[in-house]
């Protein structure tokens, strides 16, 4: 497989402008002759579907939820970055670009990140025009706050519900195009296979989750915006339905999967309360603007937090990273929390927690001001834990949150299967080995509103593929394959539930491929995963039939894919013998426990290629060449 990133020539700051001029256009009268399939309706998918429809393309949009408004982008709390420099604090496109590349531990593609920073300013304008109710100052201008990994205030927000408001903006734009007849919406529909004809992505196979009917949809291009794979860990902050199925099945049809080992563990989540736990809840990173993170200095200190005097508290982030303090990036903050808990200084039941304390902020600003900034987060904390965080510090612990890895895409966001475009969390390109806070919303909307609408036209104008039709043998074969997988799942009729297998897989991965990884653990995981997978296909119990609303069957298909994908994740983690961002190999660390990168051997994107069932995947490398930025050891001290 040849990886051509198609990075335009020319100076970094002019690449996107020049590239847009070089891209071929489709004239307005011809756009309506093209059908585009959009999978997923989160920020990336909904914004792409709406924008492509506005341009005149015929769009079919699919989501597994009952309404496109419910995609998991909705749960993003804190905000969205943009290089507006409204605060006059020294921000610029270049600074946002640099912070993002550095935050990603120099494992992102430079040209993509620069473009992301460039279009970030357009996103805010667009969302304001849609009626997104961003927070404002008394003068009527937009308010900002700061976020981890940055020393400027560039984050725009709508209380603690920024993701919700941005998604509703994109959903409303989508609604408008549905009414205009340019988008046909398929809710409660799950993509189960990608159809490739003559080497190009020409359609999908989808299952109607209400009736079980499986159907083929043909189009001129496929846009995949199906989110990340954090749920492979079972417990994560993702929604229950988030899955790897769409990207995994595209991988098996020829799309390279890049850097699956780059997974983000978010430092501020509510700790696990027991075996029954079905998901973890994140407390926005924005809380670290005013909250101070600490742990008792003494091991096994069981006193209530209020009884521990100031002198016996270790504000470890402020101690270790004095210049960024509590706003150290996520990977670093998470590992620091794990470290203090490993030392036996953790708080709360099980000792897996640290304190996030607002006493100082309440004293400084008053409770009302803290309530105005974070009220809904404090409420959410109280609902889940039954504790009042205005009185006693929150207990937090890291949890799996985001996947930086994803399908490999070139500068045009096209995967290694021509005609298959991948946006948002589902692709790999912009966040390197660690994503900064408030950058996921930015990337999803950048890809959907401002990148793919341009680049897809160039593909359509140059690909010149014959019209695809669902009656073609490739579609019929894919339908048969999907039906066969369903039949097999229903036929096992074993004794264990799907959930049991998912939990086993999750705890295995969390233990051996979570916040800290090593050769031995990864070797063990690579032995245990195939065994668990074999057991799944021998002993899983899937009740009901295909021809009905069957949640167990849906779940079984997703877990079956996680069981395959997990192996690739561990394989990638084992091969990357360095520590970078969210990928921390204990063998590779500095004397003071920081990640130790190996730029000489690992400054590349690992793009894995499917080689056939039962065969080891093929590793392809895209070297990361930094024209503008000097790769340096990341320091937040």
């Amino acid at each position: 497989m040849k990886l051509d990133a198609k990075i335009p020539a020319g100076p970094l700051a002019q690449k996107w402008d020049q590239h847009r001029f070089a891209l071929k256009l489709i004239n307005p009268a011809n756009k309506r002759k093209h059908d585009i399939l959009v999978l997923g309706t989160g920020l990336a998918g909904a914004s792409a579907a709406a924008t492509l429809a506005e341009l005149g393309y015929n769009v079919k949009a699919f989501c597994y939820q009952d309404s496109p408004r419910r995609a998991h982008s909705i749960a993003a709390q804190g905000g969205i970055n943009a290089a507006k420099n409204y605060q006059n604090d020294g921000d610029s496109v270049y600074r946002l670009f640099y912070d993002t590349v550095k935050g990603g531990d120099f494992r992102a593609r430079e040209a993509n990140v620069y473009r992301l920073a460039q279009v970030s300013v357009n996103i805010i304008d667009q969302c304001v025009a849609q009626g997104v109710p961003f927070a404002r100052e008394y003068g009527g201008l937009l308010a900002n706050r700061s976020f981890g990994g940055a020393q400027v205030s560039r984050t725009f927000y709508a209380r603690g519900q920024t993701g919700q408001q941005l998604l509703l903006g994109a959903y409303q734009a989508l609604c408008r195009q549905i009414t205009a007849g340019k988008v046909t919406m398929y809710p409660r529909t799950e993509m189960l296979d990608l159809v490739v004809v003559n080497g190009h992505a020409r359609g999908i196979i989808a299952r109607d989750l209400v009736t079980g009917a499986v159907s083929a949809h043909a189009g001129d291009a496929v846009v995949m915006a199906t989110g990340g794979y954090s749920n492979v860990f079972y417990l994560s902050t993702n929604a229950r339905g988030c899955n790897v199925t769409a990207t995994w099945r595209a991988y098996k049809k020829g799309a390279a999967f890049a850097n699956p080992c780059y997974t983000q563990i978010h430092p501020t989540c509510i700790p696990v309360s027991g075996e029954h736990q079905s998901k973890l809840t994140l407390m926005s990173e924005s809380l670290r603007n005013d909250g101070r993170v600490w742990a008792p200095k003494k091991k096994g200190d069981t006193r209530a937090p209020g009884d521990i005097p100031e002198a016996e508290r270790d504000y470890y982030l402020e101690r270790k990273y004095p210049s960024f303090g509590n706003l150290a990036p996520r990977d670093i903050s998470s590992r620091a929390a794990k470290e203090v808990c490993d030392e036996g200084r953790g708080a709360g039941p099980g000792g897996r927690g640290v304190y996030l304390d607002f006493a100082g902020a309440i004293q400084r600003l008053g409770e009302a001001a803290v309530r105005e900034r974070y009220g809904n987060l404090f409420d959410m904390y109280e609902k889940i834990t039954g504790e009042n965080a205005y009185r006693t510090p929150m207990r937090i612990y890291p949890a799996v949150h985001y996947s930086m890895g994803g399908l490999w895409v070139d500068y045009n966001l096209m995967s290694t299967v021509p005609g298959l475009f991948v946006l948002g969390e589902a692709n790999f390109s912009d966040h390197g080995a660690n994503r900064l806070g408030a950058s996921a919303l930015m990337q999803g909307l950048a890809d959907g509103y401002f990148v793919v609408p341009y680049t897809i036209g160039d593909y359509l104008a140059t690909a010149k593929q014959p019209q695809a039709a669902a009656s073609q043998p490739e579609f019929q074969q894919a339908i048969a394959a999907v039906a066969e997988t369903t039949r097999r799942l229903l036929a096992v009729n074993g004794k264990r539930t799907v959930n049991w297998f998912h939990k086993q897989l999750g705890s295995l991965l969390w233990e051996k491929c979570g916040m800290a990884r090593d050769e031995k653990g990864l070797e063990a995981a690579l032995r245990e995963i195939p065994a668990l997978r074999a057991e799944f296909w021998k002993d899983v119990k899937v009740t009901g039939r295909n021809e009905e609303l069957n949640q167990t069957l849906e779940y079984a298909g997703r877990v079956a894919d996680f069981l395959e994908f997990a192996e690739l994740l561990c394989l990638d983690a084992r091969h990357r013998r360095e520590s970078c961002g969210g990928h921390f190999r204990t063998e590779f660390q500095t004397a003071d426990g920081e990640a130790l990168r190996d730029d000489e051997h690992f400054a590349y994107v690992a793009a894995w290629e499917f080689a056939g069932a039962g065969k080891p995947p093929i590793l392809n490398k895209e070297p990361l060449v930094y024209e503008e930025v000097h790769m340096s050891a990341r320091s937040y001290k």
Partner: protein, 257 residues
């Protein structure tokens, strides 16, 4: 703790439904209500029975997917709480709990506790947006918006579209949902240009979908997990009234239609 559940089971939209009793044994007060149902479903599956179908996704109270009436109250009736955020510490050991789907004609049951809420999407498609295409938007700070207006817009925009308001209303009225969107967009300068067209079209679609009228009992506000205020319904009525009058006047000045 142990609970007795009486759960609505219904095979599909065409079948008759009925209540079935289950025991939830050894559940913990730290569990969420949905985690308790997960536990029951695990046992049912092991026994070879079909698990209880219910909708949920984010499980942190923001996606609006979960939807069930618990002991007669949409989402269980705790202030500002969705079913997924309701914890068992608010129930007593040995308690009997009745669990039903949303009950409203425009929300047909698809299976067990799952309903079809696509009527809400149709109302949104009728005008719940600002008609701007991507690109060409003026600078975000070009038009100052009073903080009070932005806050009022956000209060309304917090709606998660779960449908509890409809489920709680004796008339199955969708007024709170529609009012939230109408008020959100009418509060902002960006939404003002098409405010009349919007409210007329959304209300018409709401009526066509079969939702009932509002008799201002306030049950919607009481169960709304985002505590959307009844005031927005008053605001929408005003928007609607103005739009009707101005539209009539406009039609007359054009010589009627």
């Amino acid at each position: 703790m142990n609970l007795i559940l009486k759960v609505w089971r219904q095979r599909d939209a065409q079948s008759q439904g009925h209540f079935v009793s289950y025991e939830a044994r050894g559940v913990l007060s730290d569990m969420s209500f949905l985690e308790m149902l997960d536990t029951v479903n695990e046992e049912l599956t092991v026994r070879g029975e079909e698990p209880i179908a219910f909708d949920s996704d984010c499980r942190e109270g923001i996606c609006g997917t979960c939807s069930m009436v618990i002991n007669g109250r949409a989402h269980g009736g705790r202030t500002g709480t969705t079913a997924c955020q309701l914890h068992l510490r608010h129930f007593q050991d040995g308690q009997t709990i009745l669990i039903e789907p949303w009950r409203a004609r425009p929300f047909p049951v698809l299976r067990d506790l799952i309903t079809d809420r696509s009527a809400f999407d149709r109302i949104m498609q009728a005008g719940g947006f600002v008609s701007v295409n991507t690109g060409g938007a003026p600078d975000g700070n070009a038009l100052p918006v009073a903080k009070t207006a932005a806050e009022a817009a956000m209060d309304a925009a917090a709606c998660i579209g779960c449908g509890a308001c409809v489920a709680a209303c004796k008339n199955a009225s969708a007024m709170l949902f529609v009012a939230a969107k109408v008020s959100h967009l009418a509060a902002l300068p960006q939404g003002k240009a098409e405010r009349e067209r919007r409210v007329l079209s959304m209300v018409r679609t709401m009526d066509e979908a079969g939702f009932g009228n509002c008799t201002v009992t306030g049950s919607c506000e009481a169960v709304c997990p985002k505590e959307i205020s009844l005031d927005f319904i008053a605001q929408m009525n005003r928007e609607y009234g103005k739009a009707i009058l101005r539209n009539t006047a406009a039609r007359k000045s054009r010589g009627g239609d």
